[in-house]
């Protein structure tokens, strides 16, 4: 296959459709096989990008602006690779999880396939209307996965999520309409020079609408309200997919538009505002995480906080010196990658613990250290990355971000990052302390399959190893 890009979209569509044909609860093996191929394809694409630079692909052979182009640069390559790397252990985990706990599987496999197709299509898209369509596919699949949990809690959370995501894509689409009305094209490649040359007021409003729409979907404070119930209430494999990957998709779009097409429109004020919202997210999310009584809700609030870190990037890359900006960008992307791996591992580990104990309550975790030592170790490793302790990927990410902040004399953000790390350590330690207590009367540990423990451990160890192999990731990111 000369060009892996379109196959990264077609493959999941095909296996998801076949999985649907086979009926409810079926298709786990198809998913594992399909994802293995996708991982190879993503690696192939990453290698091509690393050696030959960014690639474009004309769908339909027409070329922009009449047709739609796909475009893969280093950033897209990192995210595509990350998505398949995180998803493969998760589908292995999910097979074992649903074998024990078949409730809530229903159409998990086809929905996961369509979810991955939507993510891959989104990362590759270079056309703003096409991006809108992929956003809708992503949003509806994610809602379907959350709702499959059943019960008033998950269904209410799914519906709230659906309405928020529809409002977000509505704002995005109005932005698309304004941009199309102004320039007559939807191709990012065609639009970039046009926006650079002349941007009337409508384009500023469009950029603002698209930004707000994507912030809603990324759940940046104060738009985070929908995330904890949706991510905390879904079955563990779904929570892992959503927290690790789905919120990153809309963040990726913000970053990409900010850096390229809409670069002439960005202002320091907007960047500082995003930074302040990120700071608020870190503080609020961490404090709420510490106050939770349910393990999965704690992890979901931790996602709210960790998403905040991603937004500290914007004040560091806007109107600062190039060296500091480059370091900050690397740090931001490393944070994204490290969080995806660690959060997938953490939700997976939490799912294993909850399956074994039979309830989701932080105060009843006593005995986990002796009965599920590997899973607890996984949780701790993931916590290490979230808190940004060496030698984890999270440490490298925060180090690069701090370098960027000090390089541009914005010491305030350094304080935010360090205190955020301490707060993360606090909520992780709260769980660990409970887990090391002795078993409470009435707590029974049912045996869990090893696949559950080891697939989560694999994810956590990757988040740690990322710290040692960060140059490869950063090298791919740099290829233009």
């Amino acid at each position: 296959m000369r060009d892996p890009a379109p196959w990264l979209i077609l493959f999941p569509l095909i296996w998801a459709s076949l999985a649907f044909l086979r009926g409810q609860g079926r298709g786990g093996r198809l998913a594992v096989a399909g994802l293995t191929i996708q991982l190879v394809l993503a690696a192939l694409l990453a290698e091509q990008i690393a050696s030959d630079g960014a690639r474009s692909y004309t769908v339909g052979g027409w070329g922009a602006p009449l047709g739609i182009d796909l475009y893969a640069d280093g950033l897209a390559g990192v995210l595509l690779l990350l998505t398949q790397i995180v998803a493969l252990p998760l589908v292995v985990y999910a097979r074992a999880y649903f074998a024990i706990h078949p409730d809530g599987i229903s159409y998990f496999w086809p929905l996961t396939g369509y979810l991955l197709a939507a993510m891959n299509a989104l990362f590759l898209s270079a056309d703003i209307f096409n991006i809108y369509v992929t956003l809708e596919l992503l949003g509806l699949t994610a809602v379907g996965l959350v709702a499959a949990g059943g019960g008033a809690g998950p269904v209410g959370a799914a519906l709230r999520y659906l309405l928020v995501t529809l409002l977000g894509s509505g704002a995005f689409l109005l932005g698309v309409a304004l941009v199309y009305g102004t320039y007559g094209s939807m191709s990012l490649q065609v639009l970039t020079p046009l926006i650079n040359a002349d941007a009337p007021a409508a384009v500023f409003i469009a950029a603002g609408l698209m930004l707000v729409g994507l912030l809603l979907k990324t759940a940046l404070f104060p738009f985070h309200f929908w995330l904890p119930p949706a991510h905390g209430g879904a079955p563990a494999p779904v929570s892992a997919l959503l927290s690790a990957l789905v919120v990153k998709a809309s963040f990726y779009l913000i970053l990409r538009l900010w850096l390229h097409a809409f670069a002439p429109l960005v202002t320091t004020v907007a960047a500082q505002l995003l930074g302040f919202l990120g700071m608020a997210a870190i503080l609020w999310g961490s404090v709420m995480a510490i106050r939770q009584t349910r393990l999965k809700m704690l992890i979901a609030y931790s996602t709210v906080a960790q998403v905040g870190y991603l937004f500290l990037l914007f004040p560091l890359i806007t109107d600062t010196n190039p060296a500091a900006a480059a370091s900050a960008l690397q740090g931001g992307v490393m944070q994204l990658v490290a969080h995806a791996l660690a959060k997938a591992a953490m939700f997976a580990a939490a799912g294993t613990i909850i399956l074994s104990i039979g309830r989701d309550d932080i105060t009843r975790l006593g005995g986990v250290s002796t009965r599920l030592p590997l899973t607890l170790f996984t949780f701790a490793l993931a916590g290490l990355t979230l808190a940004g302790l060496p030698p984890s990927g999270g440490f490298i990410a925060k180090w690069l971000l701090i370098t960027g902040a000090s390089g541009s004399d914005q010491w305030g953000w350094v304080v935010v990052m360090i205190s955020g790390g301490l707060l993360s350590a606090a909520y992780v330690c709260r769980v660990l302390r409970q887990a090391f207590l002795s078993i409470e009367a009435g707590t029974k540990f049912s045996p869990v399959s090893r696949v559950l423990e080891w697939s989560a451990f694999l994810l956590a160890s990757m988040s740690l190893l990322l710290g040692l192999r960060s140059t490869e990731v950063l090298g791919l990111l740099e290829s233009e």
């Binding site: 649907f20 409810q24 052979g61 929905l111 209307f129 046009l194 002349d198």
Partner: protein, 238 residues
């Protein structure tokens, strides 16, 4: 507190509205005119109706993803259907239809006349889409409308399950589209959804036919799955 926040939303909407109006009235004329490019390439698209050319050829990739959105919504509904205790539970059967009152008899008579007409019109719209207004979506909507009418007239019970046959029917047309896309991408020197020269018109008609049948089933499914419980005795309209 709530009142203040509502007021804030309204004020923000008004400000945004004023800004939008001002910006739209101030818009310079656009540089790129895609309509001209569509007209220039129309001959190569395989159809003569520009909107169909854009939907199924120039931007066919959007359509590929969009039909998946419809399908995913259906799966989302099915995940709920299977959970509902009263709604679509395995043992649930719609109650036997009572002898129809007069207005329902009229509706049934109407349905028997209209449904064949709607199916014929759907076929016409599908075929006409190549040259003028019409196409797969409108045709599918008509098919679904026929399903709704039959249900309202009491001639077609609400769907309580989605059996293998329906699953196959709802995905086949979409899967054909995906596989056609895969074939074009796999062809030597081919690109995703780049129809081979001379085949475009034929392929578009085939794809649209498949889409019409599957989308018709999906859209009808939206209504028939949702109306399941309404038929369980407690009549709804006042």
């Amino acid at each position: 507190m709530k009142g203040v926040l509502d007021l804030l939303v309204i004020v923000l909407c008004l400000v945004l509205g004023a800004a939008l109006w001002w910006a739209m009235l101030d818009l310079p004329s656009s540089r790129i005119h895609l309509a001209e490019q569509v007209a220039a390439k129309l001959d190569a698209s395989g159809v003569t109706h520009p909107v169909t050319a854009v939907l199924l050829n120039f931007r066919g990739y959007d359509t590929l993803i969009e039909v998946m959105v419809l399908f995913v919504a259906l799966i989302g509904m099915l995940t709920q259907a299977e959970k509902g205790s009263q709604w679509l539970s395995a043992g649930y059967r719609p109650p036997p239809l009572p002898a129809p009152p007069f207005h329902l008899e009229v509706l049934q008579w109407l349905a028997r006349v209209l449904v064949p007409l709607m199916i014929l019109t759907a076929g016409y719209l599908l075929w006409a889409g190549a040259h003028r207004a019409g196409g797969a979506f409108q045709a599918a909507a008509l098919l679904a409308g026929a399903g709704v009418l039959l249900n309202l007239a009491g001639l077609l019970p609400a769907w309580t399950t989605f059996r293998a046959g329906m699953r196959a029917g709802s995905i086949t047309g979409l899967l054909f589209f995906v596989l056609a896309a895969a074939a074009t991408a796999a062809a030597p020197h081919g690109h995703l959804l780049q129809y081979p020269a001379g085949w475009a018109g034929m392929l578009i008609l085939l794809i649209e036919t498949g889409l019409t049948l599957s989308l018709g089933l999906i859209l009808a499914g939206f209504f028939l799955l949702l109306s399941a419980e309404a038929s369980d005795g407690s009549d709804t309209e006042e």
